[in-house]
């Protein structure tokens, strides 16, 4: 066990042991939430495409930790972790996955399209790269109003090969929008490795030409992500510049439900997955909490049980929630007008 002074030194200045525990528990919640998803899917409680965030928890957690209440974020369809890290009620997230009326989008969006407007989470998007131009507009809107908020824009390595993403990065730099582009490089876009798809496989390097600061960081270590994200977000908030950060991470599960172990064998080895599982951000952080004396084994077990409980409650809540009423089909198409179907 380390002395209190040594612990404080190991932690970034803004990170109290108490806050670190909160972040750790956020990661636990994400992990347990995601672990409930695949079985629920197989039981037919969800449908469509569903992508879990297991392995990448430290990224959303470490970045979103620095968001102010009035900041914004957008992300891809792999969005459960981002919503949970932002503090969205897990029950309402699960209800959305179940297509229930109590879900964050009234059951109309599903797993890929979570949202929490109150918390500045302006949505998960299903078209690869589609959210990146949106973030430029959000950033522009912030500047337009003279605010000092930032927008975090999360997307995958695969999105780096979508044309509009490059238009957006260039425009972000031209207009100096306060956007942090967080490229979550989990090594694969579906089954396609980054080295195959990107002529310049170092994505931070590739983004450099857009005239904004870029950085590549390690994404399996919560403390490291936290530290880097703090610096980057501060810079974006205080100087008028966007920032591109490539976060090296890994998804432990398949791309989505259909990407089962047989399919995964077409593009990655069990050894590779095992290598990354050894770098599990939750295990890492737990070890740090123990070694530094911030937490006891007993506490870790309690927190784990509590997170699991929350995930199970989310499932129960979703299960008990009603389907959206059929009138919802025609609601929300326009703000001010009914859909008129001549039948």
């Amino acid at each position: 066990m380390k002395t209190e002074v040594a612990v404080r030194k190991a932690l970034p200045e803004s990170l109290t042991p108490q806050r670190l525990v909160e972040l750790y528990r956020t990661m636990l919640l994400i992990r347990h939430f995601e672990e409930q998803c695949s079985p629920a899917y197989r039981q037919g409680k969800m449908g469509g495409y569903m992508h879990v965030y297991i392995g990448q928890e430290a990224v959303a957690t470490g970045f979103i930790a620095h968001m102010r209440d009035d900041d914004y974020m957008v992300c891809s369809y792999r969005d459960h972790g981002h919503a949970l890290a932002r503090g969205t009620d897990p029950r309402r997230v699960m209800a959305e996955l179940f297509g229930r009326y109590t879900g964050v989008s009234k059951g109309k969006g599903g797993s890929m399209h979570l949202v929490d407007v109150e918390r500045g989470f302006l949505g998960g998007y299903g078209i690869v790269g589609g959210m990146v131009p949106l973030a430029v507009g959000i950033g522009y809107g912030i500047r337009y109003r003279g605010g000092d908020q930032v927008c975090l824009c999360f997307f995958g390595d695969g999105a780096m090969n979508i044309g509009p993403v490059h238009e957006a990065l260039n425009m972000a730099a031209i207009y100096k929008v306060p956007v942090v582009f967080v490229c979550e490089n989990n090594r694969y876009a579906m089954a396609t490795p980054v080295e195959f798809a990107s002529a310049v496989p170092n994505l931070a390097e590739r983004a450099k030409q857009y005239g904004m600061p870029t950085r590549q960081i390690e994404g399996m270590d919560l403390l490291e992500v936290y530290r880097q994200a703090e610096e980057i977000i501060r810079q974006v908030r205080t100087t008028p510049t966007p920032f591109f950060v490539e976060v090296i991470t890994y998804r432990f599960e398949g791309h989505g439900i259909a990407d089962n172990p047989t399919n995964q064998a077409l593009y990655r080895t069990k050894e590779e997955v095992e290598y990354w599982r050894q770098r599990d951000p939750i295990v890492n952080t737990a070890r740090f909490l123990l070694d530094s004396g911030i937490a006891t084994e007993q506490q870790l077990l309690e927190w784990d049980a509590h997170a699991k409980q929350q995930a199970l409650e989310a499932v129960a809540y979703a299960d008990a929630s009603p389907e959206p009423p059929i009138e919802e089909l025609y609601r929300d198409v326009y703000t001010d007008m009914e859909v008129q179907e001549w039948r």
């Binding site: 969800m46 059951g107 399209h113 299903g126 078209i127 396609t192 389907e323 959206p324 089909l329 859909v339």
Partner: protein, 325 residues
């Protein structure tokens, strides 16, 4: 005849055409090493190698443009969109380039390219992943648009598409990939612009294409069994060119028609069919022609809402009964 799946039929067409013509190559996301998201291209990389089965980054506009460019100098690319919802990013390449090049250069450069992949939804894919959009493409002069519903049509029409000197939008449907049907062995083609009467009947003409053809056939069976109503089911197969003769011939027999598609009703392809029917068969009609289509809303996720949004067998039955009143 062998009974195979729609997916296998497509794969046979690709394989046979690649063997027949060395200019044919495939390009798209996850089509090679991963064997195709819907397994249509399974085994083709192993068989034909990397030059002819080209895995790409997620770059739809690049994929389309690359295919068009290669077609301009005489290759015969078949570009796969993982789904047509993602083709939206490539629409400029398809509409402003593929569709225009022959005409704006006075007929000197042709673009023999096929854009294929699944369109439509129905598996809770939600708002951004459930598009059909065939009416968009059919609206563009210069594009051919085909939508086979059976394994036999899929194979014969994919071959025709590959041999066609024009850009062809070849729309499949994810719900069709595992459906089975008899498929002739070896080489055969099915011409574009020839509809197929999939069921004969004398009371009402049901006009459909792609996956809704199966819905229409089910509805027709049910109507025959329970009500003694005999529907003729026309599978258009090809939207551009469109076989109006078969439609008009059927209507001169039934005097009543219902058009079914999965795309939205508003400005959907059904509108064009109905307009032509009233222009060219007004005197034959005993009832207004009705459309059965998706609700004019973004496709919702929740199962009950999605079911309500898409056309169903019951919707078709209801429409048939209405035109018979």
């Amino acid at each position: 005849m062998a009974v195979i799946t729609y997916r296998e039929a497509l794969r046979q067409a690709l394989t046979e055409e690649m063997e027949r013509d060395p200019n044919v190559f495939l390009v798209g996301e996850e089509i090679g090493r991963y064997q195709g998201t819907f397994r249509v291209t399974e085994g083709l990389l192993q068989r034909f190698g990397e030059m002819r089965v080209v895995d790409t980054p997620i770059s739809e506009s690049g994929i389309a443009g690359m295919a068009i460019g290669a077609a301009m100098i005489g290759l015969r690319p078949v570009a796969e969109f993982m789904t047509f919802s993602f083709a939206l990013i490539a629409v400029d390449q398809i509409v402003n380039h593929a569709a225009k090049i022959l005409y704006m250069f006075g007929g000197q450069i042709s673009v023999p390219v096929v854009f294929r992949g699944p369109a439509g939804g129905g598996a809770q894919l939600s708002a951004q992943h459930s598009h059909s959009l065939e009416s968009w493409y059919a609206h563009i002069p210069g594009l051919k648009v085909v939508t086979p519903a059976t394994p036999a049509d899929a194979k014969g029409m994919l071959k025709t598409a590959i041999r066609d000197d024009n850009p062809v939008i070849f729309m499949e449907h994810a719900k069709l990939y595992s459906t089975r049907g008899e498929v002739p062995e070896g080489d055969y083609t099915i011409p574009f612009g020839v509809a197929d009467v999939k069921r004969e009947g004398s009371d009402v003409t049901i006009i459909a294409y792609s996956q809704p053809v199966l819905l229409a056939l089910h509805a027709a069976e049910k109507l025959a069994e329970t009500e003694g109503i005999q529907c003729e089911v026309i599978d258009l197969r090809s939207l551009q060119p469109l076989d109006m003769e078969t439609i008009l011939r059927s209507i001169s027999k039934t005097h009543r028609a219902v058009v079914v598609h999965e795309d939205h009703r508003n400005v959907g392809f059904g509108a064009e069919i109905v307009a032509r029917i009233q222009e060219f068969a007004f005197d034959e009609l005993d009832a207004p022609v009705l459309r059965v289509a998706s609700a004019d809303v973004p496709i919702p996720y929740a199962r009950n809402l999605e079911r309500a949004a898409f056309p169903s067998e019951e919707d078709i039955i209801r429409a048939v009964k209405r035109v018979l009143v």
